[in-house]
Amino acid sequence: MSEKLLVNPIECEGHGACAELLPEMIHLDEWGYPIVDGRPVPAGLERDARAAVSACPTLALRLLRS
């Protein structure tokens, strides 16, 4: 089953940890907020995606089963 990344923009404070841990799918805009690739997380990146989710200081990033 594939999973997708979803950021809650209300919780997100732009700490940027997610983009450091998963640069393949997340980059920061000019204000430091994440732009998240909404496609399913590829098999090889699942561990990094999980690491990015748990590293978010405001718990704004989630992995949703699609």
Binding site: P9, I10, C12, G14, D29, W31, I35
Partner: protein, 437 residues
Amino acid sequence: MTAATQGLPAEDTATSLPRLLPRDGQRPENWHAHTARHGRLPYRDRRGDLIDDLTAAGLTGRGGAAFPAGRKLSAVLDAAGKRRRAPVVITNGAESEPASEKDATLLWLAPHLVLDGLQLAAEAVGADQAILYTHVDRRNDVGRRLRQAIAERVAVGADRVAVQLAEAPPRFLSGQETAVVSHLAGGPAIPTFIPPRITERGLLGAPTLVQNAETLAHMALIARHGPRWFRQVGTAAEPGSMLCTIRRADGAPRVVEVPLGMPLKALLSDVRADQAVLIGGYHGSWLPATEAVRLTLDNQSLAAAGARVGAGILLTPPPDRCVLIETAAVVRYLALESAGQCGPCLNGLPRMAAALTEIAVGRQRGQTQADVERWAGLVTGRGACHHPDGTARFVRSALITFAAEVSRHQRGQCTGTSKRPFLPIPHGSARTEEDWM
């Protein structure tokens, strides 16, 4: 068919407009006048029964998003069944677009039609709580009228679910669905993150139906006359009629009920070729008049021009106003009305507002327009609600439609001669959470 409608000629009730507003113009309908025109509430005595009619009618939400009403009610009914929790139904009369007057007009002239729709929606989804959310206290006359209407219904025992009135704060976002739910739960009227959808988990966790006041009024008529009657006006893809607010030149706003698919030319009869039309309000799009008059009032037609029907707002600033100054003032208003919760909206909207002011006063730098375009892209789709998306759409359409005027301003010229603002902008922005309560 009910006793009251039998008296009317069939073709009269069938096709001619207005359907929602009283025929004799400006006199508000009390319970007696309402039942004389429409008859009593056609309760179905069965949950879900009305939903099939709404789906067959093709009714969509008239608050701006045009979401299919049948699907929304189905979602609430399903969630209620799965979770064994009675739903809440809410009439959304907040009408936060400053240029719109249609819901206020409808609630003033035909409150019982909206309240009928609320009861029938409550029955259809099995709700045990009904709320009417609008500017009850801030507009005393409206509050008095609605309290009177509810009292009339209580006196004759028309309602099966008691209706509470609730106050909507005078903010642009206070009619956004999740903001409505947040406010009714005792919090500020600001959007929350989806998921969960409010149809699943809304007011205090109950499956919640938030439906625009006009949409409920259409439901009340579909329940009486059926889906085929509803489809006798409008287009096959977008059936029925809708209320529009039209502001031309310096005239007062006019609320009219027109069929979907109506040629815009007929609604903008006195527009000049060098004017522009704002379609859909402050989350809508500017179009050159020459393009607008070739379109019809439905999303199929407007989509080709990058516009949407929205809540049916059509504005044509008079030729003596500077459209760039008007646009910049609106974007500033929209930026200040951001709830400030989401980073891209909080950062992008004030920057776009400042850039549009630079453009309007002829002080733009080489990068300004490219910046605006980039920021519009960066905010779109990245908020908890659609406020950034709508603002970006408005801004982009202005830069395209007013390209020639932008160049004139760069050379220090402006076609505007009057400084009196045309597009209505409410005073005062939110500074503390109290302003959202």
